[in-house]
């Protein structure tokens, strides 16, 4: 499988990738979950990551912000370049990397504090701002996450008191409040209802002008609707990567075709 030649996205769009992954291996202890992944993520585009359960989509995504380092037994080999700089270089400041590469999780995870504080916390963490500036930035982030109109009068309520879909948008607001360049989303709509899902899809559409988005999804229609590029993962390998249109209309690989037509997964 490893000898499949990947077309890197550069052949089809802006030639300077936001993120370049080269020869990425990943290990959970002795268990290898990713095998020599190579991929280029286009700036200000949506890249969808699809593939059957357990194929390593989340694992791959969790390397980009080095969040896996929380767990002692997890290790990587290979390089991930953000704007051409290896994120594992000793000069890279981990906390700043995570500010630049935000992450939205499958289940909404509001902090145990008010709606306002959920967004303000990260701003205060990274920027010295006055109170009025802070208010402005919180409002801006909530507007960016299409949540402001719904919560403008509930800013002092606990974040957990919002609905599931609202909580997920609060998490998006929290992520964009610190002015990231990349947003990683790991099945952000799998735990919320269809209407809330539609809202988030619409939001992603709007966000991509400003941010580079990588989104893991199990929903083929969603991938086809919102993404520009699609990567198909299988058993830890990136089997196929290309323009979403091409992947969904004319997949080169037989496994990809089987998966998107729903024959397995």
């Amino acid at each position: 499988m490893s000898d499949v030649k990947l077309p890197l996205y550069g052949e089809m769009a802006d030639p300077t990738p936001k993120i370049s992954v080269r020869g990425l291996d990943f290990f959970y202890g002795d268990h290898q979950a990713l095998f020599s992944n190579d991929i280029d993520i286009a700036p200000n585009r949506v890249t969808a990551v699809i593939g059957p359960s357990g194929c390593g989509k989340s694992t791959h995504l969790r390397v980009y912000n080095r969040i896996f380092e929380l767990y002692r037994e997890q290790r990587v080999k290979g390089a991930v370049l953000l704007n051409g700089e290896n994120i594992f270089a000793p000069t890279v400041k981990l906390l700043d990397l995570r500010r630049r590469v935000g992450m939205i999780f499958q289940k909404p995870t509001p902090f145990p504090m008010s709606v306002f504080e959920n967004v303000a916390y990260g701003i205060r963490l990274h920027y010295a701002v006055s109170k009025s500036e802070l208010d402005g930035r919180v409002e801006e982030a909530l507007k960016g996450a299409a949540l402001w109109e719904e919560v403008r009068d509930l800013l002092n309520r606990p974040g957990t008191a919002l609905s599931g879909g609202q909580q997920q948008r609060l998490c998006i607001a929290r992520a964009i409040a610190v002015e990231p360049e990349v947003l990683l989303m790991d099945e952000p709509t799998s735990a919320i209802d269809p209407i809330a899902t539609a809202k988030i899809e619409e939001l992603v559409e709007g966000l991509k002008g400003k941010y580079t988005i990588v989104i893991v999804t199990h929903n083929m229609q969603q991938a086809a609707r919102i993404s520009d590029f699609t990567a198909f993962f299988f058993k830890g390998y990136i089997i196929e990567f290309g323009a979403t249109k091409q992947i969904f209309t004319n997949p080169h690989n037989k496994k990809t075709e089987e998966y998107i037509t729903g024959r397995f997964g």
Binding site: I67, L95, R98, F105, G122, L125
Partner: protein, 282 residues
């Protein structure tokens, strides 16, 4: 035929089991009720204004109270809390956040479990040789250290358990906005687990406020108001021990009063802790 026999036998055993376990529970409740009733009845008779405001009277003199012992117990327990709680809290943090699967973490956890099982009189004896003998006097701080040692493992283990209940997704989402780990622990984890942590602390306080043996060798007792932390200090539990064994009826009465006072306080703290815990699971 044989089958029917077996069925009957099983049924009889079921009933026997139920009767035995029910009876055992009843006996337990009976003694507990008896203790509560006795302490309440005898203790209430000792309660009056003097009990809370006066020093103990010398033998043979009417009246007197246990104000110094109440203050002493409060101060020793407070000092013990100030020492034992932060230590326990951070030990718990280490166990759940840093040393989860490390060798040292396992060692700490094991030690905490052992310490929790050490009889408190041994803790008292240990502090006696450490802080009383070398200085040649009993002291409030020695008593507080003994109680803090008893609190430490209780707080550490509940802290570990409560932090383990916080989902990893919350840790990750805090780190994912670029929060340093120490800040994630204090601002996010402590807040998410706050009622559980508070419950653990309250239960530890309740636990040590009834300890006698560790104070016997450390704080000892005193008929006077305390003037500093470096002197023998009156406290409720040792007072109960001394007064209950005395030949004087009014001292015995005071011992009952002190017992009721401790019991009511511990009960109050327990109720508070349980209310907090219920709020958490809601």
């Amino acid at each position: 035929m044989k089958k029917a026999d077996n069925a009957r036998r099983r049924e009889t055993l079921d009933i026997a089991m139920r009767v035995v376990s029910g009876a055992a529970s009843l006996i337990g409740i009976f003694f507990l009720g008896w203790i509560l009733w006795t302490v309440a009845r005898q203790g209430l008779a000792a309660f009056n204004i003097d009990f809370f405001t006066e020093l103990p009277a010398p033998p043979g003199v009417e009246g007197g109270g246990l104000a110094n012992a109440i203050a002493g117990t409060a101060i020793i327990t407070l000092l013990a809390t100030l020492m034992g709680v932060p230590l326990g809290l951070f030990t718990g943090v280490y166990l759940s956040e840093f040393g989860k699967s490390t060798r040292f973490g396992g060692m700490v956890r094991f030690t905490m479990n052992i310490t929790m099982g050490v009889p408190s009189i041994i803790v008292g004896l240990f502090v006696y040789t450490l802080l009383v003998l070398p200085f040649k006097h009993f002291s409030a701080y020695a008593g507080a250290v003994a109680l803090a040692i008893i609190m430490l493992p209780v707080v550490a283990r509940t802290t570990e358990d409560m932090l383990n209940l916080v989902p990893n997704a919350l840790r990750e989402s805090a780190l994912a906005i670029g929060m340093p780990r120490w800040r994630m622990i204090i601002a996010i984890l402590f807040r998410a687990a706050r009622s559980g942590l508070l419950t653990g602390i309250l239960l530890a306080v309740a636990r040590v406020s009834g300890e006698t043996a560790p104070l016997l060798f450390t704080a000892m007792s005193s008929p006077y108001w305390m003037k500093g932390l470096a002197e023998p200090t009156a406290n409720l539990t040792v007072t109960i021990f001394n007064y209950a064994m005395s030949p004087f009826d009014d001292w015995k009465q005071l011992a009952w009063g002190a017992s009721l006072f401790i019991m009511a306080t511990v009960l109050g703290v327990n109720i508070l802790a349980r209310t907090l815990l219920r709020e958490r699971t809601k």
